[in-house]
């Protein structure tokens, strides 16, 4: 009792009156402790895992129910403020950074797994549920949630919906869109509606389908019916080493051409393999120019047939070493290495810029050659770790931001990587999304008419442009004037 009294005195009293009627209204609607308006919160919510600076966060709110999300959206409309939804903040394209001074709606407290409905092969979850937590929850029942982005131990299912997240195992299982059956969303109007359905072919336009991957611009998802996938009884994981990245890329292309769709096919080049091995000690060969991790799953006989065939194709493409993971532990360790690859690069330099483009599988080897040439040209270390099976490149530019002028070189190299990918018949992003990162490249992939129609879709949901404005569609085609969002009225540390 004495202690708590002392603590109260020591902690001092905080000024609860914000001086901003919008903040006061939010505090009335939620509760004071779930509406933050201090410098620390606003500063931290002005960033995600990307290198991009946005504007500054306005108030940060932590709703716990759909009704609270609705209240926040309605108040934002009333006070003419914009809304930015946020999950774990692990996005790499700046999709969750606030432009202007919007209210940031963090859904981290809406993290309940509401129901596992085996009869319909779905689970109802709240958006703040962590991807891997869901899979762990399903494990005793013999299921998992198939999308497994590298950030799966931290990213939220709501974030997966917003970004249509992929992951290594999306090669066989499909990306998030294929695993969301229905969802409740709070529309920019404040109405809560159900999109999609558990039935085979819901009527109306596939609004569920367009919401997934819309990067938080169409509303805020508050409940999700995700498909749960039966665990496969047999898994084989092959680790192949190559003296030339081209050989690894050709192996991938040949496997698919052979009619095999592995659960996953991942490639890491020499530099990244060394960093990963240093962190996990999984037994990755550090002297190889590239390693290919290929996984097949299913029934016992089939996986052996496929694994043998993949090994054969690898050897035909000059694999110097072909190894089958001997145990589940070894397999898990290999995957741990692969999935923490991006973070592990900080051993090499303090900053990185992770790119994300997709090219046709058959173009992988050529585009990789170009990326290494770009690396030489700009005197930047570029490492490659990628979802080879679906042609999804992740060139990783490693640098030290304290070096004079380095950022200009990083961005220029990035631009050339994107150009090389598009020229090879590829696309701008495979899983990170457009966010603010690739808006300026959208007109290299789409015509004015194309972008105009994307904007029409957006405006059907959000005619007032209040939800995560200034993202995805470039300025000039978008409903919001991005430049005006970029001007920040108030010092965040004020």
């Amino acid at each position: 009792m004495v202690l708590s009294k002392l603590r109260e005195l020591a902690g001092g009293s905080k000024d609860e009156s914000s001086g901003d009627p919008f903040v006061d209204a939010l505090r009335n609607a939620l509760s004071a402790d779930r509406v933050k308006y201090d410098g620390a919160h606003r500063s931290l919510h002005s960033h995600d895992a990307s290198v991009f600076d946005g504007g500054n966060s306005g108030p940060v709110v932590y709703p716990e129910t759909t009704a609270e999300v609705q209240a926040v959206v309605c108040l934002a409309n009333e006070h003419q403020r914009n809304v930015v939804p946020r999950g774990a903040g692990t996005g790499l394209a700046g999709g969750a950074i606030p432009l202007g001074v919007p209210v940031v709606v963090a859904v981290t407290k809406m993290n309940a797994i509401l129901e596992v409905d085996e009869a319909n092969s779905i689970a109802w979850v709240e958006p703040g549920v962590i991807n891997l937590d869901l899979t762990r929850h399903l494990a005793p029942l013999g299921y998992h949630f198939a999308p497994d982005p590298s950030s799966q131990q931290v990213c939220t299912v709501g974030g997966n919906v917003a970004n249509n997240s992929g992951g290594p195992h999306c090669l066989a299982y499909g990306v998030t869109n294929a695993h969301v059956m229905a969802m409740e969303i709070v529309l920019p109007s404040g109405d809560a509606v159900m999109l999609g359905g558990l039935d085979a072919e819901p009527q109306g336009f596939d609004l569920r389908g367009v919401f997934v991957g819309s990067e938080g611009t169409l509303g805020i998802v508050t409940k999700i019916a995700v498909r749960i996938t039966k665990n496969r009884p047999a898994v084989r994981t092959l680790l192949m080493a190559f003296d030339d990245v081209r050989d690894a890329a050709n192996t991938v292309s040949d496997v698919i051409a052979d009619g095999i769709v592995p659960a996953a096919m991942e490639v890491m080049d020499k530099a990244i393999t060394a960093a990963v091995e240093n962190y996990v000690g999984a037994g990755y060969p550090t002297d190889a120019a590239a390693v290919l991790l290929a996984e097949v799953d299913g029934l016992d006989s089939g996986v052996d047939i496929d694994a043998d065939r993949i090994a054969e194709i690898g050897r035909a493409n000059n694999a110097t070493d072909v190894r089958l993971a001997g145990s589940d532990e070894e397999r898990m360790l290999l995957w741990k290495g692969r999935k923490t690859a991006f973070g592990a690069v900080a051993q090499i330099a303090p900053d990185y810029y992770l790119h994300d483009t997709v090219v046709p599988r058959s173009a992988l080897a050529d585009v990789l050659d170009q990326i290494y040439a770009i690396s030489d040209k700009y005197e930047l270390l570029i490492m490659n770790v990628f979802h080879a099976g679906d042609g999804n490149l992740h060139p990783l530019i490693v640098f030290d931001g304290r070096d004079e002028g380095v950022l200009d070189r990083v961005h220029a190299a990035g631009g050339e990587i994107i150009t090389a990918s598009l020229d090879a018949g590829g696309v701008l992003s495979g899983e990170h999304g457009i966010g603010v990162e690739k808006q300026k490249y959208m007109d290299r992939m789409f015509t004015d008419d194309d972008l105009d129609h994307q904007n029409r879709l957006r405006q059907a949901f959000d005619p007032g442009c209040r939800t995560n404005p200034g993202k995805v569609i470039p300025s000039g085609h978008s409903c919001a004037d991005i430049q005006s969002l970029r001007s920040v009225p108030k010092e965040v540390w004020g």
Binding site: D117, A119, N120, S121, G166, G174, N177, L187, S189, V193, M194, L198, D199, A200, E201, P202, Q203, G204, F205, D206, L207, G209, V210, V212, G213, K230, R232, P233, I256, A257, G259, G298, L299, S301, G302, I305, V358, S362, D390, L422, G425, G426, V427, S429, G430, E431, H432, G433, I434, K438, M442, M445, F446, L451, H453, R456, L457, R458, A460, P463
Partner: protein, 310 residues
Amino acid sequence: MSATLTVDDPTLLGFAEEVGETGPVAIVGGQTRWDIGGESAGEPRLLRAPEGIVDYKPEEMTVQVRAGTTVADLHVALAEKGQRTALPDRGGTVGGALAVGENDIRALGRGRVRESLLQVRYVSAEGRIVSSGGPTVKNVSGFDLPRLMVGSLGTLGCIAEVILRTNPIPAVSRWLHADRVDAGTTFDGLLHPSAVLTDGSGTWVQLEGHGADVDQQASILQTLGSFTEVDGPPVLPEHRWSLSPSEAGAFPASDGDLAFVAAIGLGLVFADAPQPLRRLDPAVTLINERMKQNFDPTGRLNPGRDAGRK
């Protein structure tokens, strides 16, 4: 902007010109599902989408094909390289199958239609060619207009050309049938059957994959009932019902002598009576209406049809 972005294929440009900028139009495919989504109204000009396979890349598992091509022709071409698509072959066209958006009853094995469309090129209500999506199997560049087009009954744009995801045709495919076994238990006992169908008394199962795997799954079936090899699925009754998997498993909900075939795990049911009209949330209807208004302000695309009344 790179010049190559602008579509210069004369066939597509010709189609765009045909669609034009004014007057009601509707695209005709095989007319296998011509009667869904309400009555056609306003006497639209009936047009056909262009035909032909533009580019097939088996090693990419993609095919670029014009919307007027029949699904049957497409599948014949793909089969030469051991591949297929998720589109149901009912005698119709690729564009028709996408505009209707209905799945094959074996969708568990071959995938859902809405997940097979990678890139779409359509002619807008203004007579412009619009592209969305991309040629690769994975892509999150921009808003997902391909999803919007699937099942939209041609009311938002006239599908001209698409890139579809293809899948390998499994080495072995077998249909098995048994009487008096519980279809739900059968479904639960298998790893990933391509189809499990029931008419209330008999159960049909399609197994696909490597021969040894199919044999292993078939031996599981033998522990559940006396399954025998059959040529294919049963004849499907006329009316299509869209239900949740659990509802389909318990079909029919009320007693009656409805003849039906239910696809377990998928939620599709075919019965000899139509499904009662499903109702959309008015707030969802509002978005649908705004979508239609934004894409087709004058209401000239397939007038009378409403994707919400499927």
